[in-house]
Amino acid sequence: MALVQAAPALAMPPGAANPPVLLRHATLWPGTGAVLPDTDLLLQNGHIAAIGKDLPLPAGANAIEAKGRIITPGLVDMHSHLGVYASPTSRAHADGNEMTAPTTPFLRAIDSFDPEDAAIARGVAGGVTTSLILPGSGNLMGGQALYIKLFGHTVAEMQIPGAPRALKWALGENPKRVYGGRGQLPMSRMGSAWAIRQKLNEAQEVQDSQQRWDKEVAHTTARPNRPDLEPLQALLRGEALLQVHCYEVHDIETLVRLSEEFHFKVAAIHHALEAWKVPQLLREHHIGVATFADLWGFKMEAYDASVHAPAILQAAGVLLALKTDHPVVESRDLMNEAAKAHHYGLAEQAALAAVTRNPAQAIGLLDRIGTLEVGKEADVVVWPGSPLTLGARPERVFIQGVQVVGDGKNLQAAWSQAVHPTAGVCGCED
């Protein structure tokens, strides 16, 4: 059967096929805490090939004068619902919360993700190049996260190959509101902790029985297998990163108790608007925090927030990230969260690290992205001035060496505009 209409192909696949790009004479904010004035940055074969003064222009490379510009790593949004609550808001595309059972660790965000969400193009226009797409927080165990770069036509093109596994959980108000409201477990925090403990016990039993089976010389039964619990086994084996919606002190303590009981690690607590009260506890357990700059008051677990939290957590040595929780804050305003945190006392380079280096570490990708260092993927944002100012928007955004935003174009918008012909989707400055 002939295709009536050929699907448009990606303008340029990220990676090798693109000509090298030499960004010249810029001020680099590499995300490591350093500031490198009058520095060149060479993007080649999808990676950062060189950083230095007066780099030679390779044959066939595009030179871009970036004097007076600030260049940062591509932003990493470690809590996003892009694609699982696609824009415009509709019942048909509300796919982030499978609220039919409180523990659904087996679900996968990839199976909900709509690559034609118009907000993706706006996110990359804000300098976001990587996002951790999480299921919602209606369930205690919401499912497994999806790692994407914000460029591509299909989820297969956007998904980051070789990314770690990540699980999303939620403690606190949401699950007990959803299920308690129906007279089901959990109606209380006690119920929440028990439901989690019960699932982890089951996963541990399967894990143990599989190990026993593997040691048997002759098998009389099939190998025990529980696909619904397999993601939790990965957590118990230390092979998955756990990202937990968790705001209040008593929820943080419950999570720590569970992690000690079952010997798993918590990568980060998310939203975490009371984390500023217990920074030592978080540092001792190597738990990162992914939070908002100044949102508060929308529910009890958000009532005791502090605008000084980012600075307090940073000073205490807690791994600090800011995130959007898109669509709560729009993906393209991630840098604005860092700018507000900076206003309230988080140092300039610490504010940048909170949306680049630190979230890259918390999602297990710091070896590939998150800073401007030779060998890392060429996810790079060029800003006309300080990105920590009100209303700052990127001039150019590169993902793996491809200029996705710049020169009045937004390659990603081409897809979403075809589906959702909305004004303002480009987000390109002039």
Partner: protein, 423 residues
Amino acid sequence: MRRLILAALLLPAPALASETLLRGLTMHLPAAEIVLHNAEILIDSTGSVRCLSGEAPRLPVFAQAKPCHEGATEPIIIDFAGKGVAIPNLIEPLTHLGLLEVDAEDESTDGATGKLANTAQIRAIDGVRSNSRAIVAAQQAGVGIAVVYPLGNGLVTGQSAALRTCGGGIDQAIIRSPIAVHARIGHEVKHDDLLTGSRSGQLAQLRSLLGQAQRLAKAQKSKVKGTPAEEQSLQQLRDDASLQPLVEVMAGRLPLLVYADNADDIAAVLRLQRELGFRLQIAGGAEAYLVATELAAQHVPVILTPVVARPNDFAHLRAVDDAALRLQQAGVELLIASDDTHNVRNLRWNLGLVVHQGVPWAAALRMATVDAARVLGLEPSVVAIAPGLPANFTVFDGDPLTYDGHVVWTSCGGTLWPQPQQR
């Protein structure tokens, strides 16, 4: 003892034993359209401004060239060394401040959420809790006045009120109530009520309600008595408390504020205004720029909120990043709201985004001061800084409409806060 110390930490400067002199200021006086450089301001022991001095191409009559400190008697001196930027406390024109403490907790909120289309008799002022943390957050950020409108998912939700954020009980805080009757067109209003369930039904219902109110307003003015049957039907309308505020609208004594984002919905409300004739204001306004010509021609102000709407809803798929600039350039009277309750403190940055779009800085500041007072029907003095008036201004250490400016001193209704804090 401990209790006393704690109390002292939570309170503003102790009752003024002496005068306070602020110096080293650039002072913006939008009501007088003047910027005073090298300004000084002397506040007396009652919290009233006693003297204003500085340099400007033309000094207003209430300011003097001779520095205020020369007439002061041993004041407490706060010197901002030329880096202080003072602006009047801002007016937030659209918020649920005091009505919405913790959104998700019904016990902490107030507003009608039933199926009634018209609850115009509800007054926001009667539901406000004056001890709201969000009110403190707004005040400490230099927002001195908030127009609070009722929560609710009806078509006509009730009457808004203008409050000061300076503390004390409601009777101390209230400036004026009512400010406007609030209505809403859009899918947020949709519920099971046959008419209210659709946007066209909402318009039909609004037309019908305003028509009844118009009949009552005319009867109020008329000296001629109708037939007994007419009088009986009029009396039935009079007995309907929810119609009375709309009579005020149709008599021209109160504006009707309609919250709507979609350009076609706004156009429908504009048609209704042409048909029935009443003072109209539009709030929300994500797509209002598309009907800017009509809005300007009909002298309908827009309270834009949020400043930058996203095209993420079928009601406003045509949202753009520079709506404020487009409306302003089309000659529409424009106010800016923070679109928030807990972050009313960010109102100044919403004004900054308007500047970012290309609107002049002074025009943006007017939107939340002079223009807001005029559109909301408040005395111009509520945003004035002048001798004889209570201190109602805030000092920043940089441009207040950017992230560079931090709140370093504030006053509200004559109460001084030398060390403002955000929690």
